[in-house]
Amino acid sequence: MADDLTGPQLAAVRHRISNASPDLTDPQVSVGAVVADLAVELDGAVLDAASLANLDRDLEHGPGMSDASVAERRALVALVCWLVLDPAVRSDPGIQEAAQARGGLSAWMLGLVATIPRQLSGLRPVGRWVEDDSAREELARAFLGAAGVLPAGESPSVANDRWLAVSTAYQRELLTAMAQEAARAEALAKALAEARAKEAAAHYVPS
């Protein structure tokens, strides 16, 4: 968000996510075809072979990748396409400007479908991104961030604060650190208590 472009309202994006059809997360859906169709819809671009190959590589089984993980990535790509397809998003001046800076709507969209799954995959079960309120906010903020715009009405610092508040990855990192710190403090307190008990026992003189 180098230029601090302002995009659509966060609430509008969240609302769009909540209206996503369950079909989008159906494993039978050919996500590659959805992306290709969307590119045509956006600016009439037909994706070249290299783009399609990249897309296929992202959406297929890689080394050590589970079926669930692949399904998650496909679902996230489908949800991103659903958001991009929203006329209110596409026509937003901030989005338009951000897309122009990245070589047009299709190129901008391809960036999104590559970035979002990498960012959010493995954080929540697929259905949660639509059903859970905090998950919708996380996806909406991740989308706007990757799109290169700020939620309407938010400054960069506020947007960053709110992102950290809902980011599962950040919270996970934070909680892990705090849990380790708490465990260390507990172990230290226990050791101190034992040391005090030993010291008291050493000073005890039977009467």
């Binding site: 610092s157 506020v158 604060d161 599962t168 919270q171 705090m178 849990a179 465990a183």
Partner: protein
Amino acid sequence: MSGAHAAKVDDPAVLADLGTRWLAAWPLALAAWGPTTRLHAPVLHDRPCHEGSFAWFRVDEVEVHIDLPEVLRHGVEDHPVAVLAHELGHHLLAPGDPLGSVRIAARIKVGLGSRDNLVGLVSNLWSDMLINDRLQRQAGVDMAAITKALGEPPKDSPLGLLVMRTYEILWALPRGFLTGEAPAPEGEAMLCARHIRAYARDPVAGAAGFAVLVRSLLDAAALEQADQPGAPTAGDGDVLTVGCAGDRSGDGTLPPGAASDTSLGAPAVHPALDPRVVGDIEQRAPADEAPDGRSADSGGQDRALSPAELHAVLVAIGRPTSLESVAMAWYREHASPYLVPFPVREPPVVADELLGGLTPWELGDDLGDIDWAGTVTASPVLVPGVTTVRREMLEDESSRPAPRPVDLDLYLDSSGSMPDPQRTAAPIALAGAVLALSALRAGARVQATTWSGPGQLVGTDGFTGDAEEVLRAVVAHIGGSTAFPVDLLARTHLGWEGAAPTAPGPTHIAVISDEGVDTMFRRSTKDGSELDDTAARSLESAAGGSLVLRLWPQSLPTVQHLAGDYDVYVVSTDDDLVPFARDFSRRTWGRAHGG
């Protein structure tokens, strides 16, 4: 305070106008908690009350209090709905009632460790944060505005900064809106925000985790000073600005339910290790398991707090109380599930009815109730409802003697070998409470005597129906040598030096002791000891006798041999009390009915 403010504070007209405006806001404050919320209007004080804040709630009296001069002094006169709704939250959400207040404080105390002087402050902060978040997010009350109006926390107050930064995160406020320029503990605030949401409707369960979280941030010296009498008040910019004065109830009694609550003694879990807080943030681990394998629930480590621990909780939140009164309430509550129906000998009921006078028979009464002889005698002309009469029938109450329950003569061993029932949960004392309260429930009178060495007696000194007096004897502790008061037993059941026995009627003798019970059957002599038959003769005069003992198994045969016709019960844990109560009920009740 500025000169203008000082003038307003002393101006009766300004205070009267302020009172009117705040009373007008009361219905809006009630509505913030739902359309069915009802509570009488707040008490508005037009003179400073020196309660440490401009508003507080009395849980015991269920009453909101507002100190109007302090309202002006703090500059919050334009936030009546926020302040009043917040105080209502102490009634409707946290702590809710005296029991909730003690339960929250008990869990906070567990989380804070040894910092008892901060229990009141942190308890109130926890309740405040739950209430404020609920009002801001769900009721649409602008708590952010009044929090802002109260001023930023001091830069050197980690707790104040934590609270304010947590509010910023919870309410999506720009960073620094409440905290100012000072760096806030970001990680802890994030975690605190999650913790508040996780326990939004369960103030007691979340209290210990909150206390653990803030413990690491406490600047003990500054906060200890803040909690001392004469400490700076809320308007002086110290950490207390983040909350109201909270519950200012002064009653030191232990609320029913606190003593037997087994969740209060569970170990505190850091929110970062609490699955309820961490939730789906966890790395897809099983939802009920924390990173180190622990769970937020106590994993079977639940326990009720001891009398001494509960006393410490009450003292920590400034309730005037004594260890003895807490212990009495503790044993009363723990005994109640085990109370036995004490034996009652019921004579046959005499059901004769006596003829009473004539009273008017009125329209609507049963036609069969008309006394025709009386009606015709009164007037030859029959006018229903005017000349008609009916005969009253009376019961002969003098022929229905009151049931005569068996009285209880209770002896509690308080020698050095017995646990102090005021410090720890003593099953032996609990057994004594079960017996005494059972007797009193049945209408019997109780003589309770706590004994230790020769001449060391504390008790009711006679038979009484006063449960408080009896429980006071049950929880007493002497801790001396061991010498059963045989003379008192003899005076009660056999008479002494020509005087009649003091027992008023059929009496059950119960002794709570351990191996020291042998002094009941042996008398010390110059050469050692010799058997004494006073206890056996007393039993012959009594309606029964029970020895409730904490014994090593190998001592039991010897004691049973000495005890003769006394029933011997061995009680060593709370688990033994249920069979004890059951056995006592069956044997004693059966004897009463079996003759």
